[in-house]
Amino acid sequence: MHELGITQSIVEIALRTATGQAATIIHSVTLEVGALAGVVPDALLFCYEACSKETLLEGSRLIIEEIPARARCRDCATDYPLVDLLTCCPACGSAASDLLCGEDLRIKEMEID
């Protein structure tokens, strides 16, 4: 359940940004979460409700945009989508690959007044 610690970071960053912008209302916070980031979106939503209580974020919506994972084959250099870490190269069958994206864990934007 490291989603709790991660959510605390989200709340920290969002509140800091809101203060910087002199926001009076926060409508939503949007995250970009890679398919292989190792966090469970439902757990984030659950923690968010708890962590945002009694802050300017209370009642705001956490929007999670999932980013699909892609890898490049080390043997034949094909780029391909990864369903999970066990997906092999569709061109040559090799399992050796480098991750191109899909581990992202980022706050993308906020909607404020």
Binding site: I25, H27, R106
Partner: protein, 254 residues
């Protein structure tokens, strides 16, 4: 609520305490600000600071991760007892509660500091940074960090270590690398522990190696028993090489 302006009721928690006319409503004032900030950035920054410190001092650092009970503390006890006269160690022990593991390490005579994470299910770089304050780092060649027993969360947190080392014991089933690929992907080294129990359990070592190789091509694997000592010499030899290589890097820096 404000169905006509298109904002969902949940968006509105603080909104309607003060009366307002619809002209000045959010349609005009509401704005989207781009942030693009990495949520783990703070941990990664602190991990980078730890890594720099280890590089400056020439300290080779391992982060031991596994499910609870696969033998991290036992591996440390064996390793420290065997090598403490050749290598000067320090140990950081992460546990949710109790100092049991730290007491076991202290019994070997090696400096140890306990970090209780409480409800936390992993160590983070900040905890490790403060844990380091308890050692004279100039006298340390190798730091061992025993992470909290948990195959999921520690994978996401860089502590500044040279390598993560996953332990997997033969009582856990050979498919662990497939079930927890994140952890085995993050680990450069895997130890298969408790091989003394192989006659009594159904565990296919060849298949386990194959699974690990699938999630982490090139992963280095040791087969050991912390009970009989089998296989540990190879592990010790590898540690010795790594420690001297890291020490040399500092000396050549002058």
């Amino acid at each position: 609520m404000c169905i006509d302006c298109g904002c969902a009721p949940t968006d509105h928690h603080h909104h309607h305490d003060a009366p307002h006319s619809h002209e000045e409503h959010t349609v005009q004032r509401r704005k989207t600000i781009s942030i693009e900030e990495d949520i783990l950035a703070k941990n990664n920054r602190l991990a980078a600071a730890n890594r720099t410190l280890f590089a400056d001092k020439g300290i080779f650092t391992l982060n031991l991760v596994s499910s609870p009970g696969s033998g991290k503390t036992s591996l440390l006890e064996m390793t420290l007892s065997a090598l403490k006269n050749e290598i000067s160690f320090a140990v950081l022990e992460g546990d949710q509660q109790t100092a049991n593991d730290a007491d076991r390490i202290a019994a070997t005579g090696v400096p140890v500091h306990q970090i209780n994470t409480g409800a936390g299910c992993h160590l983070d770089a900040h905890m490790v940074g403060h844990g380091l304050e308890h050692f004279n780092l100039d006298a340390v060649q190798m730091l061992m960090i025993e992470n909290v027993g948990n195959l999921v969360c520690p994978a996401a947190f860089d502590l500044g270590e040279d390598f993560k080392v996953s332990l997997l014991s033969v009582t856990e089933g050979e498919d662990k690398p497939l079930k927890y690929p994140q952890m085995f992907r993050a680990s450069e080294i895997m130890l298969i522990n408790k091989i003394d129990l192989l006659p009594y359990v159904r565990f296919d070592i060849a298949r386990c190696r194959e699974y690990a190789e699938r999630v982490h091509p090139g992963i280095k694997i040791f087969e050991v028993s912390c009970y009989s000592g089998e296989g540990l010499d190879e592990w010790y030899a590898w540690l010795g090489e790594q420690v001297s290589a890291k020490g040399l890097m500092v000396r050549s820096k002058g």
